[in-house]
């Protein structure tokens, strides 16, 4: 960079990049490294960042010795690995000086706002395919596969409705487990030749907290124990929420 960029701009670009990555489910070390690369590429001489799953802290220092510190709280977290890959790519381009600051800023804002990926219907189909696939892997019959497909697609629809209500955490997982178990046991009571276990287990598979598990492992490998532990806890609590939904149905079913 020939012309120096104002420190305030560096800071806001960097913290926005960190926020976007953290919001969409990147692991701690990746967020920290990306922020550092971006700030250094823009001309900061000293960069310190500290990232936990619920917030980003950043200090940037310019050659004159002036430094700025900011903090960004991250509340709503979703999962969108596409955005992470895009911000990652952006930081690489900035570091290689293949993109100017202004363009980077505009691109980042677009990444943060655009609706990437897939809308409701494809997500429902995908969720159903995961469940149907697991039914086949467990040697389920064709009918069981179809039942698993339908229950998982329904679970994804519920997720869509719940996410729009900004519900309490783990509501969706609980309701998902409940729905999958309900569908399984209802179908079993109508057609007893179906294997309800296969339907329920398959319906649960799309609820596995894949990102939380992966990030917990990767954070702990990288030495970010604070984030690793909290993500591990998130994964555990998610599983417990799913289990509670299933147990509720099974308990009623068994008592009757």
């Amino acid at each position: 960079m020939v012309m120096a960029i104002r420190l305030e701009y560096i800071m806001s670009l960097t913290v926005l990049a960190g926020e976007v990555m953290l919001k969409n489910g990147a692991e701690t070390s990746r967020v920290e490294e990306t922020m550092e690369h971006i700030a250094r590429a823009c001309g900061a001489t000293n960069v310190e960042c500290f990232v936990i799953p619920t917030g980003v802290f950043l200090t940037v220092e310019e050659p004159s010795g002036r430094s700025l510190t900011t903090m960004r709280r991250v509340k709503d977290r979703t999962i969108n690995l596409d955005r992470i890959a895009k911000v990652n790519e952006l930081s690489r381009r900035l570091a290689d000086k293949r993109i100017k600051y202004d363009d980077a800023r505009a691109l980042l804002e677009r990444i943060a706002q655009e609706r990437t990926g897939f809308s409701l219907l494809p997500s429902m189909v995908a969720s159903g395919l995961v469940a149907g696939g697991f039914a086949i892997l467990q040697d389920g019959s064709a009918l069981e596969t179809v039942a698993a497909f339908c229950s998982a697609a329904m679970v994804r629809y519920i997720a869509h409705v719940v996410s729009q209500m900004h519900g309490v955490r783990f509501t969706f997982e609980f309701l998902g487990g409940l729905t999958a178990a309900l569908v399984g046991s209802l179908l079993y009571s109508i057609w007893p030749f179906l294997n309800q276990d296969v339907i329920i287990v398959s319906g649960l598979m799309p609820l596995v907290p894949g990102v939380a598990i992966t990030n917990a492992i990767r954070d702990i490998i990288a030495g970010d124990f604070l984030s690793g532990m909290s993500r591990g806890l998130e994964a555990a609590l998610t599983s417990v929420a799913v289990a509670m939904g299933v147990v509720l149905v099974l308990a009623v079913h068994t008592v009757r």
Binding site: S91, V125, S127, F134, T214, I217, V247
Partner: protein, 152 residues
Amino acid sequence: MFVVKVITVLVIGAAIGVLYRIPRGVLVYGSVTGLAAWLVYYGLSGVGVGIVSASFFGSLSVGFLSEILARALRKPATIFIIPGFIPLVPGGQAYTTMRFLVEGRQLDALAMGVQTILIAGAIAFGIFASVTAYRLAVTNNSKSEIDHVDKS
């Protein structure tokens, strides 16, 4: 039946990719990682290896393959790890544990619960071990390339 299952695993991998919003261009690599993991798992349990060890080796292959793909395609490794390990998740065992608990079969539930935890731990440790081993190997090979690994 085997061919059907292979295709099924590939479909599961792509579907998980859609669920987690993996960039469209690399969906197929996620599927391949999942298939590799499942093949290792299925093959090993077919020749009589215990289910916990089979899961461990399955997830070991997930870790290695994901790091290699992440480096080759310059994408975060997470993208390949998630569709990779989900076919190994002990959903059936976890469900059976719950079912035993509800039916009041505490001892069976305990045994099944321990198996679930062991499989889950084996998967986590498999990824842990392979990623660490890969990083060690890469670090020893060429110091200058570490930067690229960190960024990719």
